[in-house]
Homo-oligomer: 364 residues x 2
DNA sequence: ATTGTTAGAGTAAGCGCTTTCTCTAATAAA
DNA sequence: TTTATTAGAGAAAGCGCTTACTCTAACAAT
């Protein structure tokens, strides 16, 4: 009575007083959290035995196991993951840091990641940062505080400090659609160079000579790679490289629209644009419509991502497909492999893109 | 040495041996999880004192507080939320159950909910169920096991059993864009009847007489309300009510497309369709395009939601706007109020919709 | 000078589990 | 029959924190 003092007070007294009812009552009407102690007492065994049947570890006689299981069911017992997390087990939760779920590309990624996570018994803590470094840093350390088992990052991190700390702490981290070449990290991404190459080649093969490229900032390796591809195709095709046709913007529709408006009204109006994200491409559609430029007659557009957007716009957008399904699946597998710690080696998985030709591009 | 046996072993020995370095070293290179004990020892106080400065409770002299804070910083100490959750404090995590983040409507909701949650210091555990009852039930109990502080539901639950259990257990729950009229629960939603009324009235005012409605299943109160509005407008306008113009489907683009194809090729082809979700409307656009039916010339379409989709399609979609921002904000506020337990009264918050007229509707 | 307060800080129990030991009884080996 | 094993289960420590309670020294009141 002294030892487990508090535990022995009101709660237990009531439980005991009513325990005779427990066998016949299946509904958890009383809803006082039932713990492993309650199960143990009710089953007449020790908590360690109960723990063993929960985790299916150690040796237990079949009779005991059955008895405990029955009681667990009768009491509607559900082990507290908080408690088990405290004693060293995983939280079975992973953090997902992305710029913005409202952006279809990331929404689709989030969906796939969650799906795979669920299959493997992990939940997703979703964090939107708008690529804001502070928010990102906040989340990074918050997630650690919450003891998530790992973090999947899809944002343009520049938080090398925090990141390095986590990395050094052996904290499981994996990047999706995003890379930091100078770090030994887990990455799953599409082959951006190849994707860019396919996109621009396609345009060139259609006879376009004045091809613009619209991209985010160069901190993103993916953007950089796509730009390099663009440059290389131009060079290989002996096309003139015009600085004015390189447009830096952000990643939203509005950004694309703004940039496109400028581009389309300039004296150097291109006949084709390679937009590094579908969302930018949509912005281009809108600007074009405003300006009476018709796609693909007056302007060919190639996007990147192959999100749902590309099938919705009119005309359907020719775009470079990222294997979002596969990517989502693989990051999760990657990070869980690291979580399980089976002498995991950090690796980069680069998946092939696929040019999906629809109706936004036309021979000149 | 016996009392805190394990705690006093290798880890602490190493820590002590190296403690003289701690003042000068700011990087957490050694990355052994630093606990409240380390801070206490380093600061020369008891853990309860450290706890007090962390939580800013009880009385502490300024001198002590400063000292402790300094050590916390030096050691890069971050309290474990798992541990504090076990001792009765909140996990500061709420669960969000929706059908599918890849659906723009829910993606936008998820975003707003997360934003407000972040402002208030809560994280979001995201769960996609595809409206599958089993998945939903699984999540419901999993979230409880993970001790989330509350659950926001945006799916068409039929899990009255589990739900009732949670409700009876006083577990904080709030619904968004979704209601179960026969239960006393927290709900934030748009006025579906009014929205439907606006949509159909608009169509009627444009001279349409053969108006179809496309909706999900009637388990959703929202769909039911919109249908009732449809019926009421028809009645008020003395228009013929034709069962064949009521189309039940699901909520995805594909569903909309399929249903629209049928509707548009039937002998009873309507001149206007009220789609209960933007996604369905987009499906209609696609079917219409396939069939050479032009919008709005041959067919007027009104959507519902006002997601990003409605501005992307061509022509821009006339739709009933849900105040997603406000809704997201309010559910979070609602549920947090219940979490904080300030004698919270369950309530339904019904927000006004707004008909946004774009170019998908035309006078007959 | 004596007693009463109280500010400031420490002690220790407890949260609900996991896990290492330890112990007992039953079975196998001698 | 005696001893060695071992299957099965309990005891107890510990995870990192919160908090009720206790204690002490300093100051105020008498």
């Amino acid at each position: 009575m002294k030892k487990k003092g508090k535990r022995c007070r009101l709660k237990v007294i009531i439980k005991q007083a009513l325990s005779f009812l427990l066998h016949s009552i299946t509904k958890d009407w009383w809803s006082m959290k039932v713990t492993i102690y309650d199960v143990a007492k009710e089953a007449g065994v020790s908590i360690s035995t109960v723990s063993r049947v929960i985790n299916n570890t150690g040796r237990i006689s079949d009779k005991t196991r059955k008895k405990v299981l029955k009681v667990m069911e009768a009491l509607h017992y559900q082990p507290s993951m908080v408690a088990s997390a405290l004693t060293g087990k995983r939280t079975r939760t992973i953090g997902l840091i992305i710029p913005d779920v409202a952006n279809p590309f990331f929404a689709e990624i989030a969906r796939k990641v969650e799906d795979r996570g669920r299959e493997l018994g992990f939940n997703l803590l979703m964090c939107n940062t708008d690529n804001n470094a502070e928010t990102e840093e906040m989340y990074l350390s918050l997630l650690k505080q919450k003891s998530v088992d790992g973090i999947i990052i899809g944002t343009t991190t520049k938080n090398y400090t925090v990141l390095n700390e986590l990395l050094q702490a052996q904290f499981p981290i994996a990047f999706i659609a995003q890379d930091i070449p100078e770090l030994a990290i887990n990455v799953v991404k599409v082959d951006d160079f190849l994707g860019g190459y396919q996109a621009v080649s396609h345009l060139v093969s259609l006879g376009h000579k004045k091809i613009a490229i619209m991209l985010g900032n160069l901190n993103r390796t993916s953007d950089k790679d796509r730009l390099h591809a663009y440059q290389q195709v131009l060079k290989e095709s002996d096309l003139e490289y015009d600085e004015n046709l390189i447009v830096y913007t952000d990643y939203s529709m509005e950004d694309g629209k703004r940039a496109a408006r400028e581009l389309l009204t300039s004296s150097q109006r291109p006949t084709a644009i390679f937009a590094c994200f579908d969302s930018l491409a949509v912005g281009i559609y809108q600007a074009a419509k405003e300006l009476g430029v018709s796609i693909p007659e007056d302007l060919s557009v190639v996007g990147f991502d192959n999100t749902i957007l590309s099938t919705i716009v009119d005309p359907p957008l020719t775009t470079v497909a990222q294997p979002i399904d596969e990517m989502g699946r693989q990051v999760v597998d990657l990070i869980i492999k690291e979580i399980d710690g089976e002498k995991h080696i950090k690796q980069r998985i680069v998946l092939p893109p696929e040019l999906v030709i629809r109706q936004s591009t036309k021979r000149l």
